[in-house]
């Protein structure tokens, strides 16, 4: 794991900027620290009463207008400089870089899920090619998390119910820690991911090796959802308008609302329009759009937004390589189970590399002996794993919190077997 504090070549341009700001404030503060504390110590010594001596005649000094004016003016100038410099760095951090790749990041207890434009998704690991800026669209499915890359000196909260944005400039190849920085429960301190910045050639090779994602690009998924959710009943993509505004070119457009205000149709606006259409009604259109809060998951909302962006000519770089659905690809054993483990959220608590997080690691789990809370042992065979997934409270492993959710009724028999088959492959 990379150390956050590295002298030498900075991982990103933001690292250098923020560090320079810190250095400036440190130097100026150090000056005032030495001045004030120095005077404190100096006066204490210089004006101490000598042992056994009589208290000296102290002068009746009650104020000094000039001095007091100076020590109001100088600190004011100093803090104004801190404010301004801090604002400049902040502005740079918040400036959208042109040509950024959009990557959605969803936090949920206790993992980070990354969804790429080509439809691929990964858990706790994000890979990007060096030199190409990235726009992270952050949200959460449950409680507030925070996305923190110490090496980049960047952080932004992941708040359920809204999108936050963070821009990355991956300027140096390497692996960097991503830490959750907003307390979110028992798994907060083990909720970590890795940012892997790769040479372009290595990145391309990795994508080749991983093979085409077995599915549509994110925008492609969005297109399919728009078609099947009935949006086209009221919204045309282009041409003659129907009941609601056309979707072509909608992203980024300025929109006049029924109350007279104007907003920009960004990700947050589109998300709100889907989940809460009555919040902002476009002027001149009837307020009849139904809500999709119950019918669309947050991932699906993200996909639709990616599609709408593509209709505005906003191409997330990698959606150019839109892959068609691959049918009946022969999956290696455990592949289906592996994908299920990733999508069902198991990795929020269980690792596959042996490290202990909220729950026991899956590595070496199958077939091993397990000590249970309340005494007794069990062998982690198929029946045990099946029970743990369906009714986890039946047997809790000693030393672990009793927080595993039940999957009974939420996972089909077929999927359950696939998961167990995958766990079997994770030997010591």
């Amino acid at each position: 794991m990379a150390n956050a504090y590295t002298l030498g070549e900075a991982a990103s341009r933001t690292t250098g900027e923020v560090d320079a700001l810190f250095l400036f404030i440190t130097v100026v503060s150090l000056f005032f620290f030495l001045l004030v504390e120095g005077l404190l110590i100096y006066f204490a010594i210089r004006y101490r009463r000598r042992k056994g001596g009589e208290p000296s005649e102290t002068p009746d000094i009650r104020g000094n207008l000039l001095l007091e004016t100076i020590w109001i003016l100088i600190p004011t100038i100093v803090v104004a400089s801190f404010f301004y410099y801090g604002y400049r760095v902040f502005r740079d951090i918040r400036t959208p870089p042109p040509g950024a790749t959009d990557i959605h990041v969803v936090g949920r207890q206790w993992l980070f899920e990354f969804r790429y434009p080509d439809g691929r998704s990964s858990i706790n690991e994000i890979r990007v090619p060096v030199g190409r800026p990235v726009k992270l669209i952050l949200s959460s499915d449950d409680v507030i998390h925070s996305f923190y890359i110490p090496a980049y000196r960047l952080k932004q909260d992941m708040v359920p119910g809204r999108y936050n944005t963070l821009y990355l400039h991956p300027d140096k190849v390497g692996t960097y820690d991503i830490l959750c920085a907003e307390y979110c429960g028992v798994g907060h301190s083990t909720m970590r991911a890795e940012l892997i910045v790769m040479e372009p050639a290595a990145y391309a090779a990795w994508r080749e090796k991983k093979g085409a994602p077995a599915g549509l690009s994110l925008a492609g998924q969005g297109k399919a959802l728009v078609e099947k959710s009935g949006c086209l009943g009221c919204h045309a993509v282009e041409g003659e308008e129907k009941v609601g505004p056309n979707l072509g070119g909608i992203f980024g457009r300025k929109v006049l609302l029924s109350d007279g205000t104007t907003v920009t149709a960004d990700e947050e606006y589109l998300r709100e329009s889907l989940l809460d259409p009555k919040a902002k009604v476009v002027k001149g259109y009837p307020a009849v759009m139904p809500t999709f809060k119950e019918s669309l998951s947050s991932d699906e909302v993200g996909a639709i937004i990616a599609y709408l962006k593509s209709l505005s000519g906003v191409k997330a770089k990698e959606s150019e390589e839109e892959k068609e659905e691959k049918e009946g690809r022969e999956a290696p054993p455990g592949q289906k189970g592996k994908e299920l483990v990733e999508t069902l959220g198991c990795l929020g608590c269980h690792s596959v590399d042996g490290s202990v997080r909220v729950g026991p690691s899956f590595k070496g789990l199958f077939g091993g002996q397990v000590e249970l809370e309340g005494g007794g042992k069990a062998t982690a065979d198929e029946a045990y794993l099946r029970e743990s997934i369906n009714r986890p409270k039946a047997k809790v492993v000693k030393g672990f919190p009793d927080v595993m959710p039940e999957f009974q009724g939420k996972i089909s028999e077929e999927d359950l077997s696939a998961v167990i088959a995958y766990l079997k492959t994770l030997k010591q």
Binding site: S29, T58, G63, G86, I144
Partner: protein
């Protein structure tokens, strides 16, 4: 020259008992007392108890943090430990200790009154405080694990008993409001004849500003916790994104109180320093009006900066810029005070008894805390260190290096007055030294840890942070040792301390014109005041 008894003369108790207000014994003499001094003492005992309890939790936290992995405690237990440490320390110690403890005892004495404006309300405030504590203790059946900031949605959903806890905190807040109200009316209406506003001790000015904040800000946190309880109980959805609510709204409400409350914590401590520095430098306070009005300025500005706790929540750039600018504006009145204290020492005749040691330590450590706040007000820098150990170090330097040192300074300064006995300087100095060293070792390392990227509230942490964590833990042991010796000094002083004269420090404010301890009715005759209480210049004693 004031028309009061001089220094070092007969106690004003006259024919009354040398035990003064402590004469009447028994539980009922305390539980039903209307004497502000006894109420203040009860608050001090209660809050100092929670200082020790919170300190135990701190030691347990630091013990666990010697190991990067899950060790000694489960992660869940660790989460409970840091939540309890924060909640107990803040709500049951740092906020009430100086105002309700020392403030209750000394405000009437310093303004020449017999009691506060509403003595029965005062007693009621104390018992509401205790009721709140009892309710909080009831919540420990399912102990809190949210962090003392209780952010939603987590706090609305956790199985910890946040509902009962919320009611407990509501009660504690009510106690705070009523105390602030009492002090405001007292200071306005009960000053002795001749005590104009500009002849009030600066401790009174600071308590006045503090009371304004308490009265205006605390109701907001009251409604916040009420709403949190309602969300858990009845599905009220203001903070619930699945119901169209906004979890960030909770943060706005919470910090609208919790930022001003840090000024409730620091202003009384600063007031104490303004009393001690002139007395132990034998020199008038420099810039009386600047210090007085800067307290009001801090109280006022402090209401407009809450957003600086929320820079990374996704607020608009405009809002962030405004909050950053206003945050820096609070630094100016604060700096003014520090310069005024230094200027007071200039050409003074300084002695270093324990009150002065702690007062100087306050200045030293609070300056560090304040300067590190300069990083946090800068938008570009705060993003990196928000929610890391840098923040933890910053607020410990200001709250412990600041408020607690101020409290300890006040306790050492006023111990003879409250108890009628002297503390042992022989015990006080080594205790102080251990506290000073231990504190810096514990918390300075945390600035480094935070800058390096160690987030706060981490039960487990990346292994590269272990070395500094061990150093910090060792510091906590040194700090604990100092605190224990200091408490031993208090206990020793209570039972075996040398009898105290009415004015051991030859200070000039009115409380020193009474006996040590003062009579129940404070003054035989209410004094008439003709001068400010900082006329130390040129005095032979």
């Amino acid at each position: 020259m004031r028309e009061t008894t001089g220094n070092g003369e007969q106690p004003q108790n006259g024919n009354a008992s040398p035990r003064g207000y402590l004469e009447a014994k028994g539980i009922r003499a305390w539980a039903y007392t209307l004497d502000h001094k006894r109420i203040g003492v009860m608050y001090l005992y209660t809050t100092l108890f929670f200082f020790l309890a919170g300190g135990v939790f701190a030691l347990l936290i630091r013990l666990k943090l010697m190991y990067p992995g899950q060790h000694i405690f489960t992660n869940q237990t660790y989460n409970v430990l840091f939540t309890m440490h924060g909640a107990l320390m803040i709500f049951l110690f740092v906020i009430p200790a100086i105002p309700s403890g020392l403030g209750n005892f000394f405000i009437p004495l310093q303004i020449g009154a017999r009691d506060v404006a509403f003595p029965r309300l005062n007693l009621m405030s104390y018992w509401i405080f205790v009721a709140g504590i009892v309710v909080i203790l009831f919540s420990l059946g399912r102990p809190m694990d949210t962090g003392w900031t209780f952010y939603t949605p987590y706090s609305a959903r956790t199985s910890a008993d946040v509902t009962v806890l919320s009611f407990g905190i509501f009660l504690v807040g009510m106690s705070s409001i009523l105390t602030g109200l009492n002090f405001l009316v007292t200071i306005h209406k009960l000053r002795a004849p001749g005590m104009t506003w500009h002849r009030m001790p600066l401790f009174i000015w600071s308590m006045y500003a503090t009371s304004i904040i308490q009265v205006l800000a605390t109701p907001v946190v009251g409604i916040t916790f009420l709403l949190l309880a309602m969300e858990r109980l009845f599905g009220v959805g203001f903070f619930d994104p699945t119901k169209g609510g906004d979890p960030i709204l909770f943060q706005h409400f919470f910090w609208f109180y919790s930022h001003p409350v840090v000024y409730v914590m620091i202003l009384p401590a600063m007031g104490i320093i303004s009393e001690i520095i002139p007395a132990f430098s034998r020199k008038p306070i420099f810039g009386y009006k600047a210090i007085a009005y800067s307290s009001l300025a801090i109280a006022g500005f402090g209401f407009f900066v809450w957003g600086h706790h929320m820079f990374v929540t996704g607020m608009s750039a405009t809002a962030a810029i405004i909050f950053s600018l206003l945050t820096y504006s609070v630094a100016i009145p604060t700096a003014i005070k520090v310069f005024n204290w230094l200027a007071t020492m200039y050409r003074g005749s300084i002695t270093f008894e324990s009150p002065m040691l702690y007062a100087l330590t306050f200045i030293f450590l609070f300056v560090v805390g304040g300067l590190t706040g300069m990083f946090l007000g800068a938008l570009g820098a705060d993003i990196h260190v928000h929610d890391t150990y840098f923040i933890v170090a910053h607020f410990h330097y200001t709250m412990v290096g600041g408020t607690v040192m101020g409290l300890l300074a006040g306790l050492h300064f006023w111990f003879p007055k409250m108890t009628g006995r002297m503390l042992s300087e022989k015990m006080a100095v080594p205790a102080w030294l251990l506290i000073f060293i231990g504190f810096n070792v514990t918390f300075f390392t945390q600035f480094i840890l935070g800058f390096e990227g160690m987030p706060r509230r981490y039960a487990q942490y990346p292994a590269q942070f272990q070395a500094l964590n061990i150093v910090s833990t060792v510091g906590s042991w040194i700090l604990a040792a100092g605190i224990l010796i200091m408490f031993a000094n208090f206990v020793h002083g209570l039972f075996r301390g040398a009898l105290a004269p009415p004015n051991p420090w030859n200070a000039l404010s009115l409380e020193w014109q009474t006996g040590s301890p003062p009579a129940t009715e404070n003054f035989e005759e209410i004094p008439t005041v003709t001068d400010w209480p900082y006329g130390y210049a040129g005095r032979q004693t």
